[in-house]
Every structure is written in structure tokens, then in C-alpha cells.
Symmetry: C4
Subunit: 235 residues, 4 copies
Amino acid sequence: MNAATGRRLLAEFTGTGLLVAVVVGSGIAATRLSTDGALRLLVNSVVTSLGLAVLILVFIQAGGAHFNPVVTAADWILGRRYGLGQAAAVIACQITGAIAGAALADAMFAEPVLSPSRHHRGGPPILLSEVVATAGLLFVIVSLSRTGRLQHVAWAVAAWIGAAYWFTASTSFANPAVTIARSLTSTYAGIAPASVPAFIAAQLAGGAIGTILAVTIYPVQCGRIQVEQPAQLAG
Amino acid sequence: MNAATGRRLLAEFTGTGLLVAVVVGSGIAATRLSTDGALRLLVNSVVTSLGLAVLILVFIQAGGAHFNPVVTAADWILGRRYGLGQAAAVIACQITGAIAGAALADAMFAEPVLSPSRHHRGGPPILLSEVVATAGLLFVIVSLSRTGRLQHVAWAVAAWIGAAYWFTASTSFANPAVTIARSLTSTYAGIAPASVPAFIAAQLAGGAIGTILAVTIYPVQCGRIQVEQPAQLAG
Amino acid sequence: MNAATGRRLLAEFTGTGLLVAVVVGSGIAATRLSTDGALRLLVNSVVTSLGLAVLILVFIQAGGAHFNPVVTAADWILGRRYGLGQAAAVIACQITGAIAGAALADAMFAEPVLSPSRHHRGGPPILLSEVVATAGLLFVIVSLSRTGRLQHVAWAVAAWIGAAYWFTASTSFANPAVTIARSLTSTYAGIAPASVPAFIAAQLAGGAIGTILAVTIYPVQCGRIQVEQPAQLAG
Amino acid sequence: MNAATGRRLLAEFTGTGLLVAVVVGSGIAATRLSTDGALRLLVNSVVTSLGLAVLILVFIQAGGAHFNPVVTAADWILGRRYGLGQAAAVIACQITGAIAGAALADAMFAEPVLSPSRHHRGGPPILLSEVVATAGLLFVIVSLSRTGRLQHVAWAVAAWIGAAYWFTASTSFANPAVTIARSLTSTYAGIAPASVPAFIAAQLAGGAIGTILAVTIYPVQCGRIQVEQPAQLAG
């Protein structure tokens, strides 16, 4: 493993961890401060959206800021710019980082750490929601990548997830690593471990649909893209 | 029909469908979670705004991301870059996509699918509101196009619609395809089928006013514009 | 008066009118839908912020999108790119447009049109608030102009006003034309006519402070700036 | 002290002062208008986020828009582009500006000026929260700087702080100058003077962690960066 790969793995671990800390922590704070269900979810969705945007912005130059095994899988299949071993290591770091992030949020709020959730989620409408949410997420990422416009990806992904919290019935997990981590917090954002496998299956199906749709609508890849053009250097 | 036209039609179908799913779905979720009317509409407007922004960003390079028959009509009249047949096909895809999106939202929330709304909306103040909302929408789009600044269109349209939800009395439908589709959901965002024709007439009048105003204020077209400059390619 | 000046006046009339319609209309809607004072002001501030951003974006290329006599005065004093007669005409259009916008909002919500407000606002803390709000507004605009970064002005002004609604005690009118117009609506956003002169005096003082501060911190003007670079033309 | 340094100090004094005025003033307004704890904090966080974004945008070209001793310390250690004396003067201006800003907010709302807070904050979860919030803040700033993408810093910092208000348990002070100033207001945003030292210690520890992480993930500095490219000059 060279140094760049090590930095990528550290970025994926840290970024996914902070993303889960944002999701779980804001859920705890909102639950403590209000009894209104819409206000709680509004806080949770807006904060997740802001957190996603900034985390993508700051980690994207260290290997893509995937934070999501479905994204890494699609990137690997479409691009093959790195080996299967690196893709697997990235996903392992996403999952362990996500679990660490859930623990960090619970520690910041003095909640039990790594406590399994008892919040069962499932049924066809909920799983359909996960398919739609993940399909849209992958469509956003792959479309912007293929049209050479990754400079928009941070705010576009943030907007999609912020909206999907509300217009789907599952509040849009759309991420297997985050789903696994959320099974280990017995707070607002939790999901019972028994509900996780069906969620992940729905997310994988959605990811495939979104990726295929993006490749269909944008059949021509604009070549290998530099993520963003640095600001002009002074002198 | 060549392949590019097919991709455009698929993009208009999918994008308009997801836009309606965002509008209808977030209305259902907000209604279930809160009894406060302002909080419900705040959620509905913010989520629609985020959804519009991201959908325009990701579909714009596949034929313009109109999602709206009034926009397609103005674009065709001002530009004539494609035949009347293609314009009609685009509008047909917007309408069928919108209906599919309403059905998708209702399915995700286990609501009756394709059930007509009984929510009557109308009267001069409401119809004046639709004129203002659609005039502003067309002014935004045509002005940015004519001044060669379509890189702003996604967030500008999102901001306009997000504001128009509140500062008009109709909550700003501003889109005949979306209006038709919203007549087929008996949830928060619904509109009774009998109210639809007057809404569409007001939207067409508003669209004409906004387009004429934009052409008046910006009489010189900056030439044919590439939607957005792709990020610099790496070596 | 040449055609470009005519278009500028039309733009200032329409833009200021829509700005006031956004402020007044969203206040009416929020008042009708909720009794919570914070939720009402949150809606009013967020919607005004979105409206300001999009209106500046779409009108800026037709003469600056000032919508505000204090901004026009500062622009004229600092730049002298047009005669005093044009500046006066611009301000007259801002005021008449603002009044028309208040009437439009009241018409959309079936409220009495051009009805004087009975909402008295004033006292040293409130007037100090108007000084601070207007000083900040002018500092934002003049600073971005002098550093050649007017591409940020729409969202920066929107963010400033959105914040100033809350961190000042006056909810930040910061605009004499808008203040006059808001004296002619007996709804949430109204201000009693007798309260207007002190507000305008505070706004002028604040505008002077903000402009002087900007010129002090950025003493070197980056030359005459083109507002924004059009997107690349396609072939 | 040359003129540019004087302007930088004035910018840091004014910018930090307005930042604190935004934080304290919006807290007072939210507390007066609602009893719902989540709505109060939502207002406080959204308004702080908007205020931070615009203040960074308008002051950044006058010496960096740090507004935060931890940021100035990291910048000085990593860059050494100015002497220790200037760094100390900058921090002194941040602290005095912050205190003036708290007094300004209290004056605008007719609250007692420079009155010490009695709101005790502390304990391991709260202090851990300050470590996380400040580490993230420094990671955001240093990463964007090292990758030559400071054009994103205003909205990225705003998003981080807006999110950190909620996903940490301390509401994310993350700034020693702001913390000191908030000890001198007996309103919503206050912190008891006795709680300040531990907060500052946690912020310094977090700042060090975030800076080291950014240097680890982005070991190569993209050279000295011009903050932003001015818009194209006309003729």
C-alpha cells in the first residue's frame, strides 16, 4: 500500500465517521429539544445535508469522498482505476469509520455507546423508498462525473439527500455503511440490526438502477476528469 | 427519432417524475409528522427547492431539464432548435412522467395510487398568484439564458419556486404537467381535477408575460450557449 | 433617455416590486398558517433571502439590480458612471415599483390594497438596528464590487439580509423604498407611516458608515468590473 | 505597522464583532419569539451559518477573515507569512471585536450590556464536543487552503458550523474569541466565565488535531494561493 492509498483510506474512515456523527448526533439533539416530529426531521435532514456538503468538499481531493460502499462499487465497476483490493479496503474503512462515528456521537451526548437499536424499519413501501433514494443518489454522482461537472457534486448530493429524507418513506438511508452503523445506536437515527439486510439489498438494487440510468442518459464519458481546478496560483 | 432525442425524452420523463415525487412525497411526510400549517409548508417548499436544484443540475445536459410544458413552449418559440414534433413529445413525456411520479410517491407512502384529489383551488387571487409565479419562473429561465448565464439556472429556479410557495396564495404550482399529476393524488399536494384547467390557463398567461418581459429587458441574445463548461480534463 | 436606460428603469421597477411582494406576501402566508412567532419570522426571513438572491441574479445585468435607494446613492457617489438625473429616475422607479409590489401581494392574498399600516416601530434600539443592518448591506455590496468579486453579490446579500432579520431588533428593513412600500400594507410586514422617516434616516446613516468602512478596508478599486463572465459560447 | 496591516486588523475587529453580534442577537430574538427549544436553536444555527458565510466572503481579501485565534495560530504556524507580533495583534483585535459585538447585540435588543453570563457549560461530553467541532473547523480550512480551493471556504465553514451546532452537545463554540465574548452576555448564547477556560483548552486541542489531520491527508501544499480570482475586467 502506497502513501496515497493510505491517505485515501484515512479520508474515507474519517469522512464516513463524521457523516454518521452528524446524522446520529443531530437526531439526538433534535429529539431532546422538541416533541414535534416534523421539526425533529427538519433539523436532522438540514444538518445532514450541510454536513454531507462540507465533508465531500474537504475530502474529495483525497480519493473521491465516497463514504458509501454503493458509490465505491459503482466507481470501481465504471472506472477500474484501482484494484479490487483497494475497493474492498475502502469499503472496510467506510464501515469501521461509520461505526466509530456513531460511537463518537453517542459519547458526545452521553448516550450508551455501541448499543443496538430496537427501531424496526421495513415493509415494501419503506424498501421501495430505499431503492428510489439510492437510485437517485447514484444517478446524481455518476451523471455529474460523466458530464465532467464534479464541481457540483458536494451541493448536489447534499440537496438530494436533504430532499430524500422527506419525499421517501424511509428517511433515505441510501448507504450500507451508514445503515450498519446506525444499527449500533439506540437513539433517534437508529435501525434494528434485523432490519439492516433488507435495507442493504434495496440500496444495492437502487444503486444498480441509478447507475444504469446515468450510463443510458449519458452514454459518452467525458474522459478522466480532474475533480476541480485549483484557484489560480499567485506569482 | 435519433438516440439523443430518445435520451432527452427519457430525461424529461424521469426528471419531471422525480420532481412530482418530491412535491407529493414531502407533502405526505410533513402532514403525517406535524399539525402546524406553516411547518408543513416550510418542509414542502424547502424540499421542493432542493429537489428542483439537484434535478436541474443532473438532467440539464440531456436536453435542458425543462420538466415544464411552459418552459418547453417558450424555448421552442424563442429558439426553434428542434421541430414541433419533438416539442410535443417532450411535453407528453413531462405529463406522463409527472403522473408516474405522483404514483411513485403515493406507493412509497402506502397511499392510494392515482386517486383523484378533492382539494378545490381557485378564485381570482389564487389564479393571479399562478400568473405571477409562472411569469417569474419564465423570466428567471429566459433571462439567464439570454445573458449567457445558465450556470445559475438550477439554484435560481430553486430559489424562485421556494419563495413563490410562500409569497403567492396558490403555493405556486407554475407548471401544467405538475398540476395535472397533482390532480391524481388525494394527499396534501393534491388539486381537484375540476380546478386544473383554470390553473393551466393562468400558467400559460404568466409564462407569456414572463417571456415577453425577459425579451424586453434583454433584447440581445448572447448567441447559442453551451450549458456549462466541463471541468478541465486531466492530461 | 436611451433604450438601455429604459430597460434599467423597467428592471428596477419590476425587481423592487417583486422583492416587496416576496416580503409582504410571505409575511401574510406565514401569519395565516402559524401562531408561533419564531416560525413566522423564520419563513419571512428565509423566503426574503431566497427571493433577493434570485432577483439580483436575474436583474443584475440590466443595470445593477440595486432595488434600494441607498445602494444607488452609494453607487452614484463612488462611480459617477451615469448622471444625477438617471440616479433620481432609478430611485423613483424603486419606490413606485415597491408600492406596486406591496399592492400585488395584498391582491394575491385578498387583503385590502394600499391600506396604511398601524404597526408602530421605533426607539433607539430599533433605529440602531437599522443602522447596523444597512451598514452591513452596503459594506457587503461595496466590498465585493471593489474587490472585483460581484459574482458573489446575489448570495452574499441574501445571506446578510436573511441573518439581519434575526440578529437585529428591527427585522432589518435596510431599504428606504421597501420601507415606504411596507407602510402601505396593513399586514405582518407593515410599518406605520409615522415610523418611516426615522427608519429612513437610520438607513442613510448606516449606508454612509458601511460605504466608508468598505472604502477604508479596500482603498484600491479593481477598475471597472464586468458583472459576470458569460458562459463559454458554443462554436 | 503599515497600512495593509492596519486594514487587516480593522477587518478582524469588525468581522469578529459582527459574527458575535449575529450569534448573540439571533439567540435573543429566537428566545423572545418561541418557547420551542429546537426552533430556537434552528434559528440560531441557520442565522450563524448565513452570517459566517457572508462575513468570510467580504473580509477574506483583507487578510484572511480568520475571526478566530485558533485559525490565526494554525495559519501562522503553517505559513509564517507574517511575524508573531502581527499574529498577536490579530488575535487581540479578534477578542476586542468579539466583545464589542456582544455589546452591540445586547444594545440592539435593549439587554444589559457586558453583563456576565450565569449559564454554566462543561463536563466531558461537552468538552469532547468542542474538540470535535474545532478539529473539524480547522480541518475544513486547512484542507481547502492546501488543496488550492479557498474559493469554497466561506460556504464550507458556514455548513460545518451550522451542522456542528446540532451534532455536537456543546452547540459548537469552536472559537476562543467568541467564547470569551459570549461570557459577557446574560442571554441565550451566554456561557459563564468560569466555564470559559476549559472550553478554550478543548478548542486548542481540537485545533491541533484538525490541523495535523489536514496536513497528514494533504501533505503537499499547492503553493501560495491567491484567495480568489477577480472577475474579468471590462475593456
